[in-house]
């Protein structure tokens, strides 16, 4: 079993969602293992055998009840200032890349795939994490951790979108749309992260995205202020864990989050089904194709399986969803923050 967790942007919540999946499936006894083919991060962790991996994978390993090892993050790219990027491969410094210098993409991807293979052989489920957004058109041919892994190892993927900054439906739809045609059917589901308020208010929008893309909404994760490790170089500093026993503190947090996800109806079973899918078929019954016919704001598209038009109405009368009291992304819409009143 294997699944790749992609984000619509940096800091969308990939690391946390992966840790949560590791925790849940470890509890269930499915023997998950975290994996990030390539990680751009300054925060690294030293494994017991003296290798260096991204901090996020160490946390995810703990969530899975495992000891961190270098295979979990075979390629670590560390910005070391002055435009220099140090590549750490299999836990050991590999070489430095200067600004503008091309990376040995094939070699790095090859190393990553070997590590992935070793983990797959040893464990029941590989929970892979993507890097940044998978839809960066300008660098997609150089990608390792997102479309690179999807294509090379045939891994089904789910998308995490951050609703807090707004535009999450556009981000999920746009990412799905930009993923190359041959990989798009491998996108199976999406997660809306950092939501405040009543999730029922998003129902209509979610069903629209589901029928436009063929992806299933796996859950809406509430905004929870938990302290998680800082992963990407550009994420905000509030995620730092402090105190003596970081591992215990983190596990308490991830347990809490996993429980919240379970009680909010997060569809872990669907993730398991996605992870079990054997391999991609050319005709994916769930993947909608791109022929979208437009007609006065009504988006229609054709599902290849049944050749039936599915009309998706905008906010059906009476059932219009208002995102009340939600998240900051909506604040500008005058949909109020749950924090209380401001000037």
């Amino acid at each position: 079993m294997r699944v790749l967790v992609l984000g619509t942007s940096s800091s969308a919540g990939k690391t946390t969602v992966c840790a949560m999946l590791c925790r849940y499936f470890a509890r269930k006894g499915l023997d998950p293992v975290p994996f990030k083919a390539s990680n751009l991060s300054l925060n690294s962790y030293a494994t017991k055998d003296g290798g260096e991996i991204g901090m996020g994978q160490a946390f995810q390993a703990w969530s899975a009840g495992l000891e961190p090892e270098t295979d979990m993050n075979p390629v670590l790219l560390k910005p070391s200032g002055n435009g220099v990027l140090q590549a750490v491969v299999d836990g050991k410094p590999f070489r430095d890349y200067r600004r503008g210098e091309a990376m040995d993409r094939e070699e790095l991807l090859g190393q990553a795939l070997k590590a992935y293979g070793r983990l797959s052989a040893k464990h029941g489920m590989v929970v892979c994490e993507g890097s940044g957004s998978p839809a960066e058109i300008n660098i997609m041919d150089r990608d390792i951790a997102n479309t690179g892994l999807m294509g090379a190892a045939d891994v089904p993927a789910i998308l995490v979108g951050d609703i807090e900054r707004g535009g999450v439906f556009a981000a999920i739809y746009g990412t799905w749309r930009i993923i190359p045609d041959h990989l798009r059917p491998r996108l199976k589901g999406f997660v809306i992260n950092r939501f405040r308020g009543d999730a029922a208010l998003l129902d209509d929008a979610i069903s629209r995205i589901e029928s436009m893309t063929g992806m299933k909404c796996l859950g809406v994760l509430p905004y929870v202020y938990l302290r998680f490790p800082e992963e990407d170089s550009c994420s905000k500093s509030q995620g730092k864990l402090e105190g003596e026993n970081v591992r215990e503190a983190f596990l308490r947090n991830i347990d809490e989050l996993t429980d919240i996800a379970v009680s909010s109806g997060f569809d872990f079973d669907a993730v398991e089904r996605i992870a079990r899918e054997r391999s991609s078929s050319r005709r994916d019954p769930h993947g909608a194709d791109l022929r979208i016919l437009r007609d006065d704001g009504v988006h229609r598209h054709r599902l290849p399986s049944d050749q039936e038009d599915v009309g998706v109405r905008q906010d059906p009368a009476g059932g219009c969803s208002l995102g009340y009291g939600l998240s900051r992304g909506y604040l500008e819409h005058g949909l109020f923050d749950g924090h209380g009143c401001h000037a």
Binding site: T8, N138, Q314, H339, A343
Partner: protein, 606 residues
């Protein structure tokens, strides 16, 4: 009327003068205005495009054209004066004078064009893009104004006529070279009062309180749309370009029909739309494409350009994906904007994002981050000095600070209670006399001995709340009344000097302390404002914006225990700094964005 005629006669005799740089009020409307006709020779013209009748004091309608800029356009003033000369008109009562206006109007008056900047997310950079476009068009000699139909903001300012509008629209107006921002630029301002209730301010005045649900179900489809239409029309009649700003993402499909801040406003204004995407977080192509695609066809047609914003690396790298993005969206990429490191106040995002520190300076000032903090852009000018800010949310955040500022709040009583529960109030009492402590507005009210809310207007419960007791003042919330006013003042302590600011508050304070400022007014005798106890380093004032000019900034920092060099404030005023920043922003914008194309898609030509 005779008085105006007399003035016009003087103007006719004087002839064309262009901009009157000698005048103490110059520029009273906009930079580059023509002052030949300070008094309009056509008053009252009765032309509904230029003014309207308003009820006068004695019930008789009075022609009001105070927002008309037509006669101050250089080409108009010059044409009118040459016609007056050509016709040999020597007196304002000459009937032929009236005939010049239709001719001038047909030559020079056009309804303006509207362009709207929407963002793929919050913090996409809409506000500064609007500011940059305003400045770029202003530089090209156009009359241009910003507009945001609905703004929910923690930071507001007071206009010349005493209306309250969002701070960011006043900054954009400055970018447009306008000296008197007005409420037409932000006709709807939402001021949250509680978890799901907001005061809706219309045209700068409180309109009514609405719960969120009522706002969207009653206000928006009812008065909301009408208000937007009325003000958009008003703006288009007075400016060559109206640069509108959207709110949040325009593609929130769950609220699309209820959203009057984005595509609906664009439709009402018949505006061209430009989509700005923040590249910093990644996924920008996807955000751009998704936003364009999720907007229904009829509105999507308005989107004529995309700007990829806030690129910290090499902007050219983003161009590698441009062709594909244009192909996928069918919308041209107007350019890639690098991150511009300018000092401009931002909308509310920063305070909401959980920022705990700001700035790099050596003087560390603690700013108490009240849950209902308001007008926190007051502290921005301090960054001109060697200052960094720590947002205080726990008593421990006050460790090592050299000064403390208690900023404004939307609710003094509730936020004071919060400060006590957190233990911050006790900590401040220990720090009294050791470091300078300044309270502004709500923070000033908290520094007194009591906040008398016996009517329950502020906190909901009827009680008298004991304050920090730093001053002997009592603040009373005796009636539901808000003071909204701009002030010019003089610092009474230290080396003195000019101070400007504005008041926006509930409640009144009975002051028993030595005053900090003297407020001067054109209409009333001067009065004292604020409180000061120099020996205890305690300062308090109602004046938001008190740091904008150098005098008070330098005075306050003189009490900070820091090396003299660190406290030597630059001679610049904050206003000048903003001006320089707006220029730097516009320079970057013009060198990275295809301006000809931008003006072209806005319906103009270069």
């Amino acid at each position: 009327m005779d008085c105006i005629k007399k003035k016009v006669n003087e103007e006719i005799e004087r002839g064309w003068i262009g901009s009157n740089l000698e005048c103490e009020y110059h520029p009273c409307h906009f930079t580059g205005q023509d002052c030949t006709f300070c008094y309009c020779p056509f008053y009252p013209c009765g032309d509904e495009d230029l003014g309207s009748n308003t009820p006068g004091k004695r019930g008789k309608p009075v022609w009001n054209c105070s927002d008309c800029l037509f006669i101050h356009r250089r080409e108009v003033a010059s044409f009118v004066m040459s016609e007056i000369r050509r016709l040999g008109i020597e007196d304002a009562s000459d009937e032929r004078l009236k005939g010049i206006l239709p001719e001038a109007k047909s030559r020079f008056w056009r309804e303006g064009k509207a362009v709207m900047v929407v963002g793929a997310t919050s913090d996409a950079g809409k506000s500064i893009t609007v500011a940059a476009i305003c400045r770029a068009l202003h530089r090209r000699g156009y009359l241009v104004a910003p507009f945001k139909s609905q703004n929910m903001s923690l930071n507001s300012k007071v206009t010349r006529t005493g209306a309250e509008i969002a701070m960011i629209q006043t900054l954009q107006a400055q970018a447009a070279g306008l000296t008197t921002p007005d409420a037409h630029m932000n006709p709807i301002l939402l001021k949250p009062k509680g978890d799901d209730i907001s005061q809706v301010v219309v045209c700068g005045k409180p309109f009514a309180d609405y719960r969120v649900k009522e706002y969207y179900e009653e206000f928006v489809p009812g008065p909301g749309i009408q208000i937007v239409k009325e003000h958009v029309d008003f703006m288009k009649k007075r400016y060559d370009y109206v640069v509108m700003e959207g709110a949040g993402s325009p593609a929130e499909i769950n609220i699309y029909d209820k959203d009057i801040a984005n595509m609906k406003a664009a439709e009402i204004a018949d505006a061209t739309v430009i989509l700005v995407v923040n590249v910093e977080w990644g996924g920008s192509y996807a955000y751009a494409l998704g936003t364009v695609e999720l907007i229904p066809e009829k509105d999507r047609k308005r989107i004529k350009g995309i700007i990829l914003n806030n690129v910290r690396g090499d902007p050219r790298k983003m161009l590698d994906g441009a062709d594909r993005l244009e192909e996928l969206t069918g919308v041209p990429l107007l350019g890639v904007m690098p991150h511009v490191d300018v000092m401009l106040p931002s909308e509310d995002s920063e305070a909401l994002r959980g920022t705990s520190r700001r700035g790099e300076g050596s003087i560390r000032i603690g700013v108490v981050k009240f849950p209902r903090i308001a007008n926190f852009t007051d502290i921005d000018p301090l960054f001109m000095d060697d200052v960094s800010i720590v947002y205080v949310q726990e008593p421990g955040d006050l460790d090592g600070v050299s000064a403390v500022i208690l900023p404004g709040t939307k609710n003094t009583v509730l936020d004071y209670r919060w400060m006590c529960e957190k233990g911050i109030a006790d900590r401040l009492k220990e720090m009294r006399g050791k470091v300078p402590i300044l309270g502004i507005c709500g923070g000033y009210q908290m520094m007194g001995v009591a906040m008398d809310d016996s009517l329950g207007i502020e906190g909901g419960e009827k009680e008298v709340v004991e304050g920090l007791g730093f001053f002997g003042n009592r603040s009373v919330f005796a009636e539901y009344k808000k003071t909204v006013a701009n002030r010019e003042a003089v610092l009474l302590k230290g080396e003195g000097g000019k101070v400007t600011g504005y008041e926006l508050h509930m409640g009144q304070t009975e002051v028993v302390e030595e005053p900090l400022f003297r407020v001067d007014s054109m209409f009333y005798p001067s009065w004292n404002e604020g409180s000061v106890r120099e020996e205890e380093k305690l300062f308090g004032t109602y004046l938001h914006g008190c740091f904008d000019l150098q005098a008070f900034r330098r005075y306050f920092l003189s009490f900070v225990d820091a090396p003299v060099e660190a406290k030597e404030a630059p001679a610049k005023s904050y206003e000048d700094l903003l001006e320089d920043s707006l220029d730097a922003l516009a320079d970057a914008f013009e060198s990275n964005i295809d301006m000809d194309r931008l003006i072209g898609i806005m319906g103009g030509s270069e």
